[in-house]
């Protein structure tokens, strides 16, 4: 299974060696839950593989500074497709990873629902190449927070708002950060919003 080898290498590439005491961590003014973050080589991104399954990763992305997402920590889940037995080929890295926000986010390129699908060309099946790297994917996701791409939207309404009514967009995005992305690191408080809550909270549409 060369797939596993590659995945663990990529994980190492993303995590790097443990950082010197307090250095990387202190950058984020984190709540009590900061301990769950693994070391990282990337700016504002942390990645950790599931203990029992290398093909499932937890990702945390810090809302980049000077964006509406600043101050939030967004959790994502990434699943690498496993190849079909017996050859094990046909899975990752031949097929692209699937990555979703589990923390809700108000963004033109992320579905505004529990699934948090991301529209990222890099991981579309026809664009993905086996030589693409997870690190690149994660960095692209973070880049999407810095620079939404309203011309290729998943949420057409939010995209319109982003283009035509930036103030309203920012207000909504910030309120989402306040509501959903603040306590991400407190373990077991992963705010999986129930539907009811969503209904109540969803900003009324114009």
């Amino acid at each position: 299974m060369s797939g596993i080898r590659r995945v663990s290498k990529e994980l190492t590439e993303c995590q790097g060696p443990p950082p010197p005491e307090g250095k990387d961590m202190s950058k984020v003014k984190l709540q009590d839950g900061a301990a769950i973050l693994p070391p990282t080589t990337m700016e504002g991104i942390w990645a950790k593989a599931d203990n029992s399954n290398m093909y499932r990763w937890d990702i945390w992305i810090e809302g980049p500074a000077n964006t509406v997402y600043e101050g939030g920590i967004f959790k994502l889940k990434m699943e690498l497709p496993e190849g079909s037995a017996p050859s094990g080929t046909g899975g990752y890295p031949f097929k692209p990873p699937k990555i979703n926000f589990t923390t809700r986010i108000y963004h033109p390129n992320v579905t505004n629902d529990n699934t948090g699908d991301i529209c990222l060309s890099l991981i579309k099946t026809d664009v993905w190449k086996p030589a693409s790297k997870i690190k690149g994917v994660l960095e692209a996701v973070r880049q999407l927070l810095i620079e939404p791409n309203p011309d290729d939207p998943l949420e057409t309404r939010i995209a319109e708002e982003y283009k035509n009514n930036r103030a309203e967009f920012e207000k909504n995005a910030k309120s989402y950060v306040q509501r959903y992305a603040k306590d991400t690191l407190k373990e077991n408080s992963s705010k999986t919003t129930t539907k009811k809550e969503t209904l109540k909270n969803a900003p009324s549409k114009v």
């Binding site: 060369s2 080898r5 590659r6 290498k9 990529e10 050859s87 080929t89 046909g90 890295p93 031949f94 579905t111 505004n112 629902d113 529990n114 699934t115 890099l122 579309k124 026809d126 664009v127 993905w128 190449k129 086996p130 030589a131 693409s132 690149g136 011309d151 290729d152 939207p153 998943l154 057409t156 309404r157 319109e160 539907k195 969503t198 209904l199 969803a202 009324s204 549409k205």
Partner: protein, 651 residues
Amino acid sequence: MEEDFREVELSTIAAIYPEELCIDEQDPYAFTIELPISLSKPVVVKFPASSNAAPSGQLPEARLPTVNAVESQQLSNFPALSIHIELPEGYPTEKPPKVALSTSPPWLSPKILEKLESDAQRLWEDIGRDQVIFTYIDDVRQSADTIFGLVNEQGTLEVGPEHKIALLDYDIKAKQTAFDKGTFDCNICLDPKKGSVCHRMLDCGHVFCVRCLQDFYNNAISEGDISTVRCLEPGCAEKRDAAARKASGSKRRKPKTLVNPSELLQIPLGHDVVKRYVMLKYKAELESDKNTVYCPRESCQGAARSKKYKKPQGVEFAADAEEESDGEDGEGGEDGEGGEDGEGTDKKVAPLDLLAICEDCSFAFCTRCRKSWHGEFQYCVPQERKEEISEEEKASMEYLRLHSSPCPTCDAPCQKSHGCNHMRCFRCQTHFCYLCSSWLDPENPYKHFNTDSTGKRSACFMRLWELEDGDGHDIEVGRGAQHRREEAQAAELEVAFGEEARGAVPQQQRRQRVVQAQPGQPGQQDQQANNARFAVAREGPLVLRIEGLPAEARGQQYRPAAGRGRPQVVNGGQRGGRGVRGQGRPGAHQQNHGRMPGQNRQVNRNGQRVQNDGPREDGRLNDNDEAWVRHFVRLALNDQEHLVEMDSDED
């Protein structure tokens, strides 16, 4: 004493060139050194045609236009120069070393070799009749860097054509040897690998390990996904593709970035795999050509022989059909039965163009009437084959109708496997909408799903993500595209209602109406959204689905509650959250099959019978029905549909 000198010098030289030096068996003072010629920068080598091969090295450019056969290659490795040196008695004080140079093959002209040989004596004199061997070898080595001054002002080197193959072979081998010795990081398995188990892509030079390439390409070819048989580096093929497009101007060309079959064999891939790849590629080419005619014999259905695309025999790839050079001679005779074909292609008389010969079964037929060839003077008409459509054909046509959308440009039926409704045709790259098959502006394809500048909305407004999980998983439930296209005919209606709904309906009147008409017990239940929780899975305006289906499709009365390709996914389901988005919108999606004209008699909540007209052939509503529907919807939006007069369409 002299012997000592020779011996000392020899052992020194042997230490300097441990691998290249070879001492003669007969004569201990004679030896050969193989001097490899590798240039740091490749030089352009020209091979003039044999007719003027004699004077090598002269008249390079002037002759070129007349000589078509001149080919140039960039080479950086040349067959080694072997230097045979004999140290005679009396060397170094009295006699110069005896030097003989040669190359195999003799690609260097004797003149040059002579000159180099005479250099030995000159150097020996210069140095004061002393030990000269190292100096001499070094001198030859240095002049080899410029191919002994043979490279002309244009930076090209001419070599007799008879050595062409040998030189090219040598260059390739030398490069391969160098490559094999190197170490590369395979970007797929991320392991460092020796060059000998790696492959360098011929077109772009990216290196991957053979194992990864085999895994990937074998998998892709066995899955039939040949469009991915390209360089595996992100963006590489796309970049070259774009560059090629740019270079060839606006003319649309098929991307040529697919890996060549011969390269696949080199990797190496199994012979049968490559064969399959070639066949798939060939089929894809035929399919993408609208002019392809298929054999009318039901058991065969091979493609008619074409001049443009040659059926591949084995793995050798029929000389790049992509070249699009239609002018070449027909090669119909390739499998020995091309007699008629040859005659046919001789003259370009219109009727003869009707003759087609199946590539697989050699059946000669007329492309117009699709019967066996009747000669060019017989009048024939295209065959209507309505009545002979078999059940199987019918079923697959029906499937296509329900679960695919035709490309607006080439009419190829496309089926969406997942994702949004912005489609790109696999054949002609047209951008189109999966829901209504409209052509989309490649610059801004999503406009179609949004409000345009004038505020007008298409029928697909806000429906970009309908059917996200793909079309056709649910064979039972037709939510297909042709079918949607028919729907689109009622688009104005939809939009009109959408507008009304928007203005008129307060939010709390969200209302779900789901009709479940099981075969055998047609019935209808109205359900309030709050207790039934059926999907409100869309955020578009109120859309009234007008089911104007032809009769045969109507056996299926049950439709999914929303256009998401699955029936009744309750909101808590996997994608349930989607429905949420619609919640804030006034007016929910209404499934209104039970009331549609053309349905069987339906019973509404109040037990009244509804009599509907028979189906109209064109799938549209008659004016009466339309008025009734409008009226009904208006009432329904106010939760007053029970007030509707059920006899309004009785007349």
